[in-house]
Symmetry: C2
Subunit: 692 residues, 2 copies
């Protein structure tokens, strides 16, 4: 490969690979939809779930569009037409990624249930490929939209790189904003339904999970799709796009004499897409002893191939050395920064697995604490959550150190891009979880034989660990990506206020500290609102289910069919109405604090990143650990199902639900929306003299 070739054709190269990714996704969709959808009863239930999910997502889109519209007008006034176009594209692609991912997931679920009546490996393949569609869609759409829009803008502006990159900031804001809504709306939906169904079904009426007599059970299954599939896809699309844009932006702001710096992030993403496709093929075609081995093997293959490809292009693109922020470094340093991103991925996955898997001490400690009751289970779980922040945060700190040493802020951005470039394969694992979960639900509700349920249960357990692990990955990458955005904020300020020789964000400046305190409370307020939303919506579900059972006692004996639609409706309304306030909090805080000056706003950004990282990790890990502690008890430990310890473990699992699936993960897009918004408003704040 000719060095000048990749540097000058990197955009086209990544566009081609993005299209290739979408083509692979299309092949997988055909393959999934081509497998048998089972019998009539299964189709009936699957259809109910599909309709509920589709209906919710359409209403969510309408609701979000209503809010996005005035914001687009705001972006237009601050940043002009190009950025607004970017905003719309980012918002649309974020929604689209969620929508298509869910579309396939709600069809893959019933097919997985059917395949499970053939063999475990067949079921794994359908479920994994259903998830892989989302993975490929997210990265394909991400690469295509960012690279495509960038290429178009370069054309439109006759090669004005600065203008083209500035309009990318609009795209970043659009995707971030949508993903906050999608994460929150989906997260509130899924957990309100889940908690509500559990509280009244499992605890009051002693019904098993996914029992068709439970009026909330369809809502629960719909929730898996709109939260864990659509919400997650929008979230990762956003992190992917924002990291890529952050890399380009930082390359533009800090690497002055090497055009490759702007192209390198695109190339890394393109190469990783190839690696992800190979990883997906590995899972499909190389038979492994266990599902876990197959999935982890796929990630390992993708990671190693990515590293090799990165190695192959870095030197040829940059030549021997490059100048980063005034310092000359060997170009191989950039490769090592990319390796830092890959290693951080491995470390975070490993740490999260330690804190959330049934095979290690933390989860077992929670399970043991359940013996002495609900309260000790909760205390142990919260403590595990707090403990679980330590290693990932140290790993993130170490990554910042290495990559900054090697290549300054640009080095950190390359580490983030490399980390996120693995999204394709990682999301495949994550989306696999809700599909198998739903497959189990459909198997139970349609009365398939016990052996089918056993296979889906086993796959579901694997899916649970994968889900927890992916959340660790998502929050760690979000933290690192946010650091890059903060750096971009600082660099952009420098460029916008050229009369200032330096712009210190000094901790001795009380405005920085005040901003930091205010920023620090944002994740607290945000998670408080979202937990309240789950709590109150779940309460409404409980009341509705109690009402139905009271009015039609035949529901419990199977004589009457419950009115599933009512519960779906309640949760839909609750999710839509309760997502707005927390989703708008970042906007209000950023704009409010901006009037206190650039230093206060800078402090706010860091404050939000710092507490957000801890709150996010603590909540997602504790939630995952509680979930698996319950599973561990259900495996027959500490008294097993129905014991006193089991009741306590169910309480912990229920508390963990909004922790791990609503509040915790929604912190990721939130900390990025805060940082991007700060960058977006720089011009107007400078113009009117608030930043000076």
């Amino acid at each position: 490969m000719n060095p000048s070739f990749l540097t000058s054709n990197g955009i086209s190269f990544s566009l081609a690979l993005g299209l290739g990714g979408l083509a692979c996704a299309y092949v997988l969709i055909r393959q999934v939809l081509g497998s048998s959808a089972g019998n009539e009863k299964m189709a009936f239930i699957a259809k109910a779930v599909q309709e509920g999910a589709q209906a919710y997502l359409s209403r969510q889109m309408t609701a979000v569009a209503m809010i996005a519209l005035p914001l687009a007008v705001g972006v237009y006034f601050i940043r002009g037409g190009a950025a607004t176009a970017g905003f719309v594209i980012g918002a649309a692609c974020s929604m689209l990624a969620g929508y298509i991912g869910m579309y396939v997931a709600v069809r893959a679920n019933v097919r997985t249930a059917q395949a499970a009546s053939v063999s475990s490996h067949a079921a794994l393949k359908v479920a994994f490929n259903g998830g892989a569609v989302t993975g490929l869609l997210v990265v394909g759409l991400g690469l295509l939209s960012v690279a495509g829009f960038y290429a178009v803008m370069l054309k439109v502006t006759n090669g004005d790189t600065k203008a083209a990159i500035e309009s990318l900031v609009g795209l970043a804001l659009g995707s971030s904003l949508i993903s906050v809504f999608a994460r929150l709306g989906g997260g509130i939906y899924t957990k309100a339904a889940d908690v509500g169904a559990d509280l009244v079904g499992k605890i009051e009426q002693n019904l098993p999970e996914d029992d068709p007599r439970n009026p909330a059970t369809i809502a629960d299954n719909v929730g898996d799709n709109v939260g864990d599939c659509a919400g997650m896809a929008a979230d990762v699309f956003e992190t992917y796009a924002v990291s890529l844009i952050g890399g380009v932006l930082v390359g533009f702001l800090t690497v002055k004499d090497n055009a490759a710096a702007l192209i390198y992030p695109f190339v890394l993403c393109g190469l990783s897409l190839i690696a992800s496709v190979i990883g997906i093929a590995f899972v499909n075609f190389v038979k492994q002893k266990s599902a876990t081995n197959a999935l982890i093997g796929g990630v390992a293959v993708s990671g190693i191939i990515s590293a090799l490809l990165f190695k192959a292009v870095t030197g040829s693109m940059f030549g021997e050395t490059l100048n980063v922020g005034g310092k000359v470094i060997p170009s191989s340093n950039l490769f090592w920064c990319a390796v830092v991103g890959l290693v951080l991925t491995v470390l975070v996955v490993w740490f999260t697995n330690y804190y959330t898997s049934t095979f290690h001490a933390p989860v077992r400690r929670i399970a043991k604490a359940s013996e002495t009751g609900h309260a000790t289970n909760i205390i142990a779980g919260i403590s595990v959550g707090h403990h679980s922040t330590v290693l990932p945060v140290l790993a993130i700190a170490g990554s910042i150190w290495c990559s900054y040493e090697w290549a300054g802020l640009y080095g950190i951005s390359i580490a983030v891009v490399a980390m996120l470039s693995l999204s394709g394969i990682i999301i495949s694992l994550d989306a696999f979880g809700p599909i198998t979960d739903n497959a189990g639900g459909i198997a139970a509700m349609s009365g398939l034989p016990e052996s089918v349920r056993k296979i889906t249960d086993e796959l579901d357990a694997v899916g649970n660990t994968m889900k927890a692990v992916t959340k660790g990955y998502a929050i760690a990458s979000a933290g690192l990506a946010a650091m890059v955005l903060f750096g971009s904020y600082v660099e952009d300020l420098k460029a916008s206020l050229p009369h200032l020789t330096s712009i210190p964000f000094d901790l001795s400046n009380p405005m920085v500290i005040i901003g930091m305190f205010i920023g620090g409370l944002l994740p607290y307020l945000f998670t408080a609102f979202s937990m309240d939303a789950v709590g109150s919506a779940a309460g409404a579900v409980v009341i509705e289910v109690r009402r139905q059972i009271k009015e039609k006692p035949g529901i419990l004996t199977g004589a009457d069919i419950p009115d599933y639609r009512q519960c779906v409706d309640i949760v839909t309304k609750a999710a839509l109405s309760k997502m707005t306030v927390p989703a708008l909090l970042p906007l209000i805080f950023v704009i409010g604090v901006a009037f206190m000056g650039k230093e206060a706003l800078g402090g706010l950004l860091i404050g939000t990143i710092v507490t957000g990282l801890f709150v996010g990790i603590a909540m997602t890990s504790a939630g995952g650990a509680w979930d698996n502690a319950k599973k561990y008890v259900e495996e027959g430990n500490h008294g097993g199902k129905g014991s006193f310890a089991h009741q306590a473990a169910v309480t912990g699992d229920t508390v963990g639900d909004p922790y791990k699936d609503t509040s915790g993960p929604a912190v990721n897009p939130m900390i990025k929306v805060v940082n991007i918004l700060a960058i977006v408003i720089i011009p107007i704040m400078v113009k009117y003299g608030f930043f000076h």
Copy 2:
């Protein structure tokens, strides 16, 4: 009053007032000990509690001395003999404040029970005066030790102010370190006993609170004294002394041309001591309709008198203007900074009361959520904890803003001194809580008539709110005090590295960010360890109680007397062994990160303050809210005692126990120990070239 008079005699003036405070405490001790101690059975139970508390505290002192000894040697090598003397004095006074406070409390409790058989007002007086002893002791000892040591050092060094102030830093470190141990050890003790007693007594055996048949009941009552009395007294002694020292240090470092700056903090503390004594007299002699009115009235009287006295001296001490950090400001600004401290106290008390009292929405929301079970109670409580951080943090941010605008870093330190100067009266309210709690326990165990228990229960409810409110005050003041210490760290660095024109702690410097991440995880790790300690020690109590009941079933019928001593012993050992690791964490982190440079260490300090403030407020408020939600249900709401909602509320209360009485409050001294230690090690890090 002559201006030069107070400035030149301010130290003697405050020494005299400190002695006066101790004299008042002595009068109150005589008065409390002079009231009737009740009948023989009461004396027997009280004696068991006294012995347990005394025995624990003696062992804790020995254990802490063992750890303090090598640290004193370390201080000697880094800071020399004078600072080491300060270290020993600080450590000794912190222990002494805890010890005497507890000595009186364990004698006031039985006398309060006895007085309750006379009248509610008589009981209030004994309990309040028992608490006021601690309040006066804390401020008297604090003022006396700091001012006395400072005066002696000035004498010894022939008026070398710099050397004298530097040795005060040793005193600050000694008191902080001890109070971390006291808070942790006491906190683990009290909650392990409480949770253990509740889990097996209330939930398994259906015994009421403080039932003499519960083998853990004496340990539970001992815990109130070693945790809520001794631990709290050591903690507030530390905050008081450290704030005073911080004020003097900042005055020395930033106000160059006005000797009054060093004396003003002492004078403020002295004047507030007068105001506190008047407030205590108000509670004793001005009869009010309710106990709450009397107590809040006392605080109001103290606050207003303080403000008036501050107003009277400020102008006369400083003259018209003074030069703070190179900026000339009117001296009246300092008075307004002091007012900021008083107003912040009022605001924080108000906010905490809102989030933790049964009369407001948050607690009622938790109570209502209990209807749908344990999990929704917990979710609601955690959400209230997160919500409760918002207003106090905004108030703190506002206070920093105002006081910095008016008088720079010195202004913030004056606000903190003014806030803490009210400790005398505020601690009286706080210590009142455990005394009435114990009085109720003694009344129940010695079979006093129901009417007595009713009075102590009413007073106990008032005590609960006061306790929650004081914790808000403690953490807010700790946050602000820590900010002053961080400022001192920066100023001290500047003085120690005179060749540097400026020392930026810039957020764009990755070392600052890395330090901040590491600092941010300290409160998480610290609270994780302390919650684990409570959980595992409580588990040991549960097992012991189950064993006793199994071996001697007569315990439940009253035929056999349980072996109280065993439970006391278990909790004593657990508290002592489990306090060491978390208490040493701050030392390990500060010293470890110091080797990464002064910027990383600065980042660590701020990181710890930011997340510590949020973790501390969220935990103490959530704990208080859960406690009162249970009380609200027990008042007959949502089904009242014995209902499903009540069981859920008990779970919340139990989770809240370590939140509000172990982990949350221990964060206060921890964030200060981190900051002081950073100041202490500056010379050695500069000497060996790690700070350059």
